[in-house]
Symmetry: D2
Subunit: 337 residues, 4 copies
């Protein structure tokens, strides 16, 4: 039985608490820490039988009975807490992005290099989604041949609060970072070069924060494939999450998930359901699966499915995207330190 401590009891910390309690065998949450722990959160955590509830995460790092920690705190603390946890001999699951600074991510990588037995996984949950995993499997099985064109559509149902935009690091480090990771995952390749075509079409307040809300991002992958991501902060019909990989022998594509397959035909046409509302509905099962695989890596010593390289790559791509917008030109990943 793997004992887990969760650092950060916000939305995603709670998701992991529930996943581990209900859907992960051989693991249990032993402690939860959050500097802003309130009564409501405390009651939620206790509802899962967790007895050790702290405001200071060091209590978790100092507990020898805890095998692994989940770093679910605010992004600016991910790297620091991860390094402390690694040095404290814990296995670490760190939410994405590891940090907005490549230097800080490299510091985490350095800590890991000094602790070769440490399992460190980054929270790119979409890799474990049934649809995206099916694309990668079709590719790995050789059903589409060499990868030529990857297309990812990723549109949110609602833009975030403009106040959040600033701390989020902007659309590329906050929202598109998942798509960047998907691009590398689905093509099994890194990014070489990126060009961003973007605009503020959803909400001028986003533009006032120096960010964009609509983007078409094209990339050259290291294996020669071309990739494109299209993003919008607001799709009237809900959370749009599709991908297609086209290759020398064929194409594999996925569509959105819905609550049911019911289709109503009437005088207005033939109408199916909107996509599942947002990431908690759409990707819930993937959160469980990433946790199962992390626990499995801790238990068996096998490699984690999403390591620090993915954590660093995705941020570098995001920074290159920002640079492309700022300088209005294609940017090579090698330009990002």
């Amino acid at each position: 039985m793997i004992n887990i401590g969760i650092i950060g009891a916000g939305r995603i910390g709670k998701v992991h608490l529930e996943s581990i309690s209900y859907h992960v065998k051989n693991a249990q949450v032993k402690a939860v820490a959050d500097p802003f722990m309130n009564e409501q959160t405390k009651a939620f955590v206790e509802g899962f039988g967790v007895k050790e509830i702290y405001t200071d995460y060091h209590e978790i790092l100092n507990d020898a009975a805890i095998d692994a920690v989940l770093v679910c705190s605010s992004t600016d603390t991910h790297a620091q807490i991860s390094i402390e946890a690694i040095n404290a001999g814990k296995h670490v699951f760190c939410e994405k992005p590891v940090d907005h600074s490549t230097a800080k991510i490299k510091a985490v990588a350095d800590a890991l290099a000094a602790h070769p037995g440490c399992k460190f996984q980054v929270g790119f949950n979409r890799r474990f989604d049934h649809n995206f995993a099916a694309i990668r499997k079709a590719y790995d099985d050789g059903r589409i041949g060499d990868a030529h064109i990857l297309k990812i559509t990723s549109r949110d149902p609602e833009p975030p609060n403009p106040a959040y935009i600033k701390v989020s690091g902007g659309i590329f480090l906050d929202m598109t970072i998942h798509d960047f990771d998907m691009a590398t995952f689905l093509t099994n390749s890194d990014v070489e070069e990126i060009y961003v075509n973007s605009a503020v079409l959803v909400d001028p307040a986003i533009g006032e924060q120096g960010d964009v809300d609509t983007a078409i991002i094209t990339m050259k992958m290291s294996n020669g494939a071309l990739a494109v991501i299209d993003n919008s902060r607001k799709a009237a019909y809900g959370y749009d999450q599709r991908a297609e990989l086209f290759g020398s022998k064929g194409m594999v594509a996925t569509s959105n998930d819905t609550l049911s397959s019911a289709v109503v035909a009437d005088a207005n046409g033939v109408t199916g359901e909107k996509p599942l509302f947002f990431f908690l509905e759409r990707y819930m099962e993937s959160f469980s699966e990433e946790m199962r695989q992390f626990v499995n890596a801790v238990e068996t010593g096998c490699e984690v499915p999403v390591g620090i390289h993915a954590g660093l790559q995705s941020v570098k791509i995001g920074l290159a995207a920002k640079k492309s917008v700022a300088e209005h030109r294609p940017v090579k990943l090698s330009e990002i330190d």
Copy 2:
């Protein structure tokens, strides 16, 4: 917290044990009884933290701390155990069919009449399936108007062992009974008359048992709608579970669920996945939902969603179907006892 005892630790008993442990709040399995309890099953049950494991189900009925029992034993014992449980003051969830004999089901109804506070639910889990529930919701919302034609396609991926055919009561009481219940649920109406067109096309051994393996069953519903079910014991592409309800204002239809939405386009065509394999894969979530609703009825005193009337109706329809085959004519439900 509702304490539950499970009587019968076969496949479906285990499903409910897992559902309650993982997916039902405010309930826990306190005891499990099975006359053929073996080491493997015992270990499985213990894995969910259940400490009271018996061979004699009376241990459960005699435990005053147990609020509700799940009757998951063999069909021929459902009625007897249900009556004993009702008389012992337990709420009862009984697997389908309640019995093959309407007299025995009525005896259960009589016991219930004598215990008006008892919650008694029958295990027609498909009512809680996301797709079928969406059809009923569209109907209840008035989107299709009056019901005119109901079509249910229900085909298994593999026929059962011929040895099982005899004890199962035949295709209509074993397999189609779920579809009969769906017909009444989706049209919100009882059946008035039935005619069966059937054949042995899958396996002659099924015919040798006096049963059929392929059938088209048409019914007149009490609300005037016409209904048709088509059954096969073997679909080469897997478990086919679809329905469509056509009415004065429109139609609602559902298709099969798949593991992913991935579609591969290549020189052979555009190929999507087969349906989920069988009922455990296809209907797993509905088993959790029926249990949540049963526990809710026990907790709040509200009505159960599937009561003894549904249990009796479905068996009467099944018996009428058998009579239609035997006598080669349409049979009214009123002819059945």
Copy 3:
């Protein structure tokens, strides 16, 4: 160049005139006859360059330069005109149904037996539809193995004028007759027995004419397959024309045709188009193809794709359907003279 005379310039006669003029090589319409020829129709016919326009169809039968005639007159005259045309040495394309009386159809068959060189084709155009032809091809190619279950959905967008009901011979000889022919075509088999479950749900005026407007029709086919047709005189979403053939190795199914594949996703859901409105829109191409194949049979002497056997079978099935409704029991085709 095959010279054709069209007898009957109503809706279907005009369709054939246009098809032959635009879409059939090696054939031309030389003459058109209609007892009720009016100015508007005359202008329409002349627009296609036809110069010989008559009220008496004998003018066509007496024209030695005419190779083939299309019998597009009212149903009660089909048999008589066909026999005259056969005896006049013409090849004949006769609209469906050949007649409502099997005796009269047999009289046509007798005339054909006396003229073995005569090509006689019945107007079951749906056999030439791209979707239904694809089902039959998949079956012929062995992709679904032995036929077990055939399902046909056939629903009209609007009921006919009640006044028409009487002369039409009722739903089974007017509307379902196409589906009966499809059942024999798609399974490549005759019908052995039929049972009809029917109701008046669309319009009481139809019931007052002694007809039904909603039906589920089950059949045993000679090759052992079971078949079911569901009919409604009014589908709110338009003309619903689907079929599926299920067999030992798999299933082939077709869906409705639409004007475009456009799907709009918005706050209401994901909405595609309604089916093409009615048979002229839906089956236009099949009218051309049946005519091409008829002309080809005339030209090359090869067998016609839909002969008098199909014309007789479909009416016998329709009469058996009426008998099933009247006597409320399954009826064998052998009971119909």
Copy 4:
């Protein structure tokens, strides 16, 4: 009746000959000219009743009875012949691209300015395709609100002969030019800026000709929308022609056309048909429709649906695309001439 002369009797000239003969009322082909007229082509043309067959197109221009000419000759002669035809008082339908040089296209525009009564239409047939027209209609009807993101997928089933690459002007002026026109049509807007991400992944011989065979092209439209086109010269599953327009209120998307809607479910999955093979199969109906609208403009004097502006724009976009590849940077349309 509009009399038409066709100049150039290659593949597309023959398509128009057949369309006009079969599907366009009030028009007839009076003459066909081709410098390389051979016996086979002559027989084909005569089969449609055309009696005036020339090698010198001036015979057509000099025929006062001819109202309109179709310029279907090789691209390098389009502008010259068009100008001669305009000056000869003919209406002109010119195949795409009008020319590879903007100067030459402007010379055509100048000729048109001097002949204000002349109807001049460019052969962007896809505007008349049922699917693409449905996207534009949904947009015009306000169903998707303001345009934010346009996506076009356009992949050929087979690359052209490498020898053809050189004379074709490269992928952007030969293949993508249709997609460029679609981008302006579907968003009802011109292009402001373009960036091309491209590669040689299909056939090195294409690269040796200085061309690419795979591309992702992003554009800023004048109305603020972002657009992306993805191209491949070879899709293993056939001709892939899809588009989707995403806006403030929703999205409209189209999928590929197939020969039938038949889907086979078997042990391998659920398999539908490949897209229609290539442009002659896929867009045949649009060729008829563009011709009907051209004839209508000639007849009624109304505006042509695709004028010289579209002809010039599409080539300018193509040239900007080539410049973007050559200079590896985003290129503004204003930089072209």
